[in-house]
Symmetry: C2
Subunit: 398 residues, 2 copies
């Protein structure tokens, strides 16, 4: 089954579960200003005012411009696709009048950007149309519907994510033979990008910082691009990288140590930092199961890092992954203002999360691992093969 | 001067002209759900709630997440860039309180998708913040500001568009030697795409239909992708193609005729169709000047086509071009419902338009030319080199 068919089918069940009569995704010129949920409902951008409607009793209908009709029909996900020439107003009004829904969910949200797809102008357009029908008071936010739909991954979605992870792990394996003292962050980043090209996959986020590569003690914040800084013996090097396979992302970090001449292993302080991160990941993953709140998981890893004597990491422990490397609403994060309600949601079966604690080893660099897990009814299952050992790079320049 | 500096400077003048105290572009996670105006204000996507503010008295301020601060500062376009850690609310409230604007323009529009950048969730966020300040009644649509800013092209923007056109014309020149009877639409399309790659430019729109290639009498509607249909002698072939250079687009169409064995020129009915299109373009371009309404220009070309005995084209005569191949609000279009108010705007100096009438020659194919012009105070100036002759392709298979 295509992803669109899978997701539209899932949407019907979600509407039933939340007892919402009708969910409308309403977009126009989606190339300019799309809705992040649109790829689950349509295989390509749409031009004219377009409404994708799912109802609690299982009806699915799309009202789109004539030129887009065929493309939407071919998904097989809709009972009916109306292709209009004159305008969307009459077919949409007729359908809603006949349906007479008591709750009409639209894609807006103050707290969750991923659920905030409708523009204000499009909201006004729909609001006035519903007012003509006396239904404008029935509008509610579709936040919980969109969140559930994005985060409950279907089989096809999980398979795509697994494939993205497999490619990422292979590229991390290959770069291990490329990293050498004297090479720059930029060179290492270029190697990763070139590898992605040979696999025919896109990068999972903004190419400027995909991968992010940080070597040595003077590494900048997490959002900066690789620079001409050279790799040196004694450095901890870490990398954040992901690819997009068939629309689905991986997002992983690995930590390397560059041996000094004569060294056989990393110094004690680096090993301690690394072991702390491994333990934080293991213990937080062990606690993950449906019903537990994201902030509870974050707190486990955070306290392991702090109790080991490090500063707490200045970000959440993990985020969901899907069509974007940062996807979904629920977050493994601390209850900080900027995360709004995201850390307060319970985990659900089918959510895919990163786990990515971080700490700084003074004089060496940043130790950070990012694994990917899926929440099952029995707990978290690793989708990535967890890094359990520092990757040691020999000191030889060649 | 960088485009961002040019455009922010231009925005100050536009606010003065329209007597609007303050214009706020308000976005978050712009990779997911950006505002089409953002590339004029910031060089890269932003992560946290970010406000870009221009005032009538010439102040420019950005309030962004800490990690984005440096990138925005480096544009040199803002008097001050505040990088917040905790949240945007306090710095934004403080600044607005001090400014006390009477009119606050936000990027929403029922009629113009290109001016409809703020999501409904972000609108609510700002609405509630302004309510706390007693200013929520001062919100107005920024449609006229955003329209003016997009459509009044600066020198740098015009140069980028000219370069995109130059590359497009070179590729059209080259494909003339590639088109041959027996080749398919798909093959011709691939040649165009490969050429764009050799120039290191992106395609101006959705690759599936860039270029659009139509050969012969049974050509489908304008939005369909090239197929395996073979070019045959006696066919009229047309192509719609554009590239994006430094963020700015071209959008052009050219018409070819495939000679039959022994033919030295196109048959009379094809020549007549072509001459009609050329005349429609010349006469509508001649009438373009600041102050004339878009629908008046559309009517000129439309009546030339109809009076020559052809069906009227089922679309507007021309649209603006900029960062998107379809850009801007004002349109050279007929007063049809689906175009809303767009055909009713007066032309302004600095607008870049396509002119693209179309007609069908029965049994031969579709004749269509798309030129690009800029509106100057003295009238329209062609940016492209207008096609004045059918491009004749020899009948030899090789």
């Amino acid at each position: 089954m295509s992803i669109i068919k899978e997701k539209v089918k899932q949407a019907k069940q979600i509407l039933k579960e939340f007892d919402v009569d009708c969910w409308i995704t309403f977009v126009r010129e989606s190339q300019l200003n799309g809705d992040p949920i649109l790829p689950f409902l349509a295989p390509a951008d749409v031009t004219w005012h377009s409404a994708f409607i799912v109802t609690k009793d299982g009806q699915t209908k799309a009202i789109v411009g004539l030129y887009d009709q065929k493309t939407i029909e071919e998904t097989g996900a809709y009972d009916e696709v109306i292709g209009f020439v004159e305008g969307f107003r009459e077919p949409l009004k007729n359908y809603l009048q006949q349906l007479n829904p008591q709750k009409i969910a639209l894609n807006y949200s103050v707290d969750s950007e991923i659920c905030d797809g409708i523009t204000h102008g499009m909201f006004l357009t729909l609001f006035h149309l519903l007012k003509e029908l006396g239904m404008e008071q029935r509008i509610i936010s579709a936040e919980q519907i969109v969140s559930a739909l994005r985060q409950r991954k279907t089989k096809t979605e999980i398979n795509h994510i697994k494939k993205a992870i497999e490619i990422t792990e292979t590229i991390f394996e290959r770069v291990t033979h490329f990293i050498k003292p004297g090479k720059t962050e930029k060179l290492v980043a270029q190697f990763m990008k070139d590898q992605a090209k040979t696999f025919g996959v896109e990068l999972a986020w903004e190419p400027l910082v995909c991968p992010a590569v940080f070597t040595g003690p003077e590494t900048a914040g997490a959002h900066y691009a690789p620079i001409d800084r050279k790799i040196e013996p004694g450095h901890v090097l870490n990398m954040d990288f992901g690819v997009r396979y068939e629309g689905y992302c991986s997002d992983m970090q690995r930590t390397f140590y560059i041996l000094e001449p004569g060294q056989q292993e990393a110094p004690a302080e680096v090993k301690k930092g690394f072991a702390t991160i491994v333990q934080a990941i293991e213990e937080s993953a062990r606690a993950m199961r449906p019903g537990v709140l994201g902030k509870e998981i974050d707190a486990i890893a955070r306290s392991i890092v702090v109790e080991a004597g490090y500063d707490e990491f200045p970000h959440g422990l993990g985020h969901q992954v899907g069509r974007f490397s940062h996807d979904g609403t629920a977050l493994l994060g601390p209850p900080w203002e900027k995360y709004a309600k995201k850390p307060f949601y319970p985990l659900e079966e089918g959510m895919v999360f990163t786990i990515e604690p971080r700490l700084t080893v003074e004089g060496r660099g940043v130790v950070t691992i990012e694994e990917m897990v899926i929440v099952t009814k029995n707990g978290a299952q690793f989708l990535s093969h967890p890094q359990k050992e520092l990757i040691l790079i020999s000191a030889n320049e060649r």
